[in-house]
């Protein structure tokens, strides 16, 4: 697959949709979304909040799996921890939800740093399973921990200002995308892409791969926590079984695969498809995961590069490309 990629690079130059035109399109898009947040119905706001939050997390999962080769099945760890932080700060200590949000994010980042001590000793499937085990262990622990209400979970006190939360979600999403863009175009991103494309070349770039991976993992932990905090402020109730649910990662995997793993804009496309499908399938409760699972398997079989990845290869363009490392 990598060979083919290089081949197509050689045959036809790739047009990169970036720079000023993309910036203008992006600003217009964000402006439209801001207007929608304020004028839209409460249902529109709910859907938009979900889009922004899932998009944030999917971009982060893509950063981990698609660009640094760390397939995590445990991003729900950060969602759950941040959700509980929000609930504890607001309900138990009577703080404002902004404080709860920031505390949740900080705990997420620190947790990522601590977990990296264990997780970075593993590779591939061991890494994947270990991240999941950690989330399950937290779920089991929280289910019997009195401070967080055991299996009954917690409620985030007060009525949320949903317009504000939705707006914060949008800001979070934009910051996440911009951050990933600059990260992948920095020396760190160059090193990571080099490692992904050609392990030998990576050492010659002279980038500390371990540190780069650590930075990505902590950033992913931080943003998944921030997204989780907002999600539970918006929805109000958190249970051990929902906060640390593998379902979170299921969604992220689905979004990234559908959109195109390892492409910059794939998760954005994937999120829109996912949320649309999710809203549509809500009518057929019970069937949604079956249909999502089938779609994911079919996409892996027949469109291994996802929707955006396939389009990009066919039409020779890239949206917000990161610089590629190649031997030529």
């Amino acid at each position: 697959m990598k060979k083919a990629e290089n081949l197509s690079t050689r045959q036809q130059p790739i047009r990169v949709l970036g720079g000023l035109p993309m910036l203008i399109i992006g600003i217009i898009l964000v402006a439209v979304l801001v207007v929608l947040v304020f004028v839209g119905s409460s249902n529109t706001r709910r859907i938009l909040t979900n889009v922004f939050l899932y998009c944030t997390m999917a971009c982060m999962w893509n950063l981990l799996s698609g660009f640094t080769g760390m397939t995590s099945l445990g991003q729900q760890t950060f969602v759950g921890v941040a959700g509980y932080s929000m609930a504890v700060m607001v309900t138990t200590y009577g703080m404002s939800y902004i404080v709860g949000w920031i505390v949740g994010g900080a705990i997420g980042a620190v947790l990522a740093l601590v977990l990296s001590l264990i997780l970075f000793r593993m590779r591939g499937m061991y890494f994947a399973i270990a991240t999941w085990v950690i989330a399950e262990a937290l779920k089991t622990w929280f289910t019997s921990w009195g401070f967080v209400g055991k299996g009954g979970g917690m409620t985030v006190a007060g009525r949320p200002d949903r317009t504000m939360v939705c707006l914060l979600a949008l800001i979070l999403c934009v910051v996440a995308i911009v951050l990933i863009y600059f990260l992948l175009n920095s020396k760190i991103g160059l090193g990571l892409t080099a490692m992904r494309d050609d392990a030998d070349a990576a050492s010659s770039v002279g980038v500390n791969i371990f540190r780069s991976k650590l930075i990505c993992f902590v950033i992913a932990g931080l943003f998944c926590a921030l997204a989780g905090g907002l999600y539970y402020r918006y929805n109000g109730t958190i249970l051990p079984g929902s906060g640390f649910d593998i379902e979170w990662t299921v969604s992220l995997v689905f979004i990234v695969i559908i959109g195109g793993i390892g492409t910059m804009a794939g998760p954005i496309v994937g999120t829109v498809v996912y949320i649309a499908l999710d809203e549509f399938l809500a009518k057929y409760s019970g069937w949604s995961n079956i249909i999502l699972g089938l779609i994911a398997i079919l996409v892996i079989l027949f469109l291994p590069d996802g929707i955006l990845g396939t389009l990009q290869k066919k039409l020779h363009f890239e949206i917000l490309s990161q610089r590629r490392f190649s031997k030529e």
Binding site: I129, A130, A137, W141, L301
Partner: protein, 288 residues
């Protein structure tokens, strides 16, 4: 504090833990085969086990027979499902690399989980044969639960049969040869795809046995798969990939962790053991 510890680390608990070890070993053995031979992380193994549990429950109810006898039907049934699954789906995806294959098994697990929810409802299930409550008394006030003993015997017989198959038959040797060297195996006339399909079939057959054991020992739900997948994975990690004797030891460790952790912390204890193992010796205790 000491009293609490004395209450936990009793001889009776040790007996229970050892008896449960067989169950956990058979849970892990299917996973370890797929790991070692097909080199695939099968994230749907937990759902396969629960599927086996449902099949046994329904068949034993429908035919009004002892749950153990349902194995006559569930083992061949699951074997065929496994072979078909590997031949039509997983062999194809594996050509694209290990990560897509991992994600496909992940997709399978969520499909199966919701399919079982639709088919069998979210109710808790358990098989309760007449001997489920009886005990064999031992001197010193100790006892052996009959059910646990039967489950241990079923598990050990399964592992023995599997070991003999892998050691003594042409197909078994071909499967071992494939896990050692794919090219050399194909030079001996082994069809790699067929060897993989049979290996997956065997893994599914062990999942049928594990499902029966799980369904007789504990209540289960369509959503219980994840829990058993992680335990199966734990057994694999402790025992080493592809090692059947290793799976026995791994099963024992998890059986003891389950019992000493007690009702509320048994699962947590298992997870902690697994995380420590992953961090310290991810290649397993028994591999070089």
């Amino acid at each position: 504090m000491l009293e609490v510890l004395q209450n936990i680390f009793t001889a009776q608990n040790a007996i229970s833990g050892i008896l449960l070890g067989g169950l956990f070993a058979v849970l892990g053995v299917g996973m370890t085969i797929i790991f070692g031979i097909v080199k695939l992380t099968n994230l749907a193994h937990g759902e396969f086990v629960i599927l086996g549990a449902f099949c046994s429950t329904l068949i034993s109810q429908a035919l009004d027979i002892d749950p153990i006898l349902t194995l006559i039907i569930t083992i061949p049934l699951m074997f065929i499902i496994g072979m078909v699954l590997q031949s039509v789906l997983i062999n194809r995806v594996m050509l694209q690399g290990s990560e897509p294959a991992l994600l496909v098994t992940f997709g399978l697990s969520i499909i199966l989980q919701d399919a079982m929810l639709l088919l069998f409802s979210a109710d808790a299930r358990k098989m309760n044969p007449s001997y489920a409550q009886s005990n064999i008394s031992l001197p010193g006030g100790l006892y052996i639960p009959v059910l646990d003993l039967i489950l241990l015997i079923i598990s050990l017989v399964t592992i023995l049969v599997l070991t003999l198959f892998l050691r003594r038959t042409y197909m078994g040797r071909a499967i071992r040869a494939t896990s050692d060297d794919i090219v050399a195996a194909s030079l001996m006339g082994v069809s790699i795809k067929k060897a993989y399909a049979v290996a997956m079939g065997i893994a599914m057959a062990t999942a049928a046995v594990a499902g029966l054991c799980v369904g007789m020992r504990w209540t289960f739900y369509p959503s219980s798969g994840g829990e058993y997948l992680l335990r199966a994975f734990g057994v694999v990690v402790i025992g080493g990939m592809g090692s059947i004797p290793g799976a026995l030891v791994g099963g024992l460790v998890f059986g003891l962790a389950q019992v000493f952790g007690g009702a509320s912390y048994g699962l947590l204890a298992s997870y902690v053991v697994l995380i420590i193992m992953l961090a310290v010796r991810p290649q397993g205790l028994f591999s070089k």
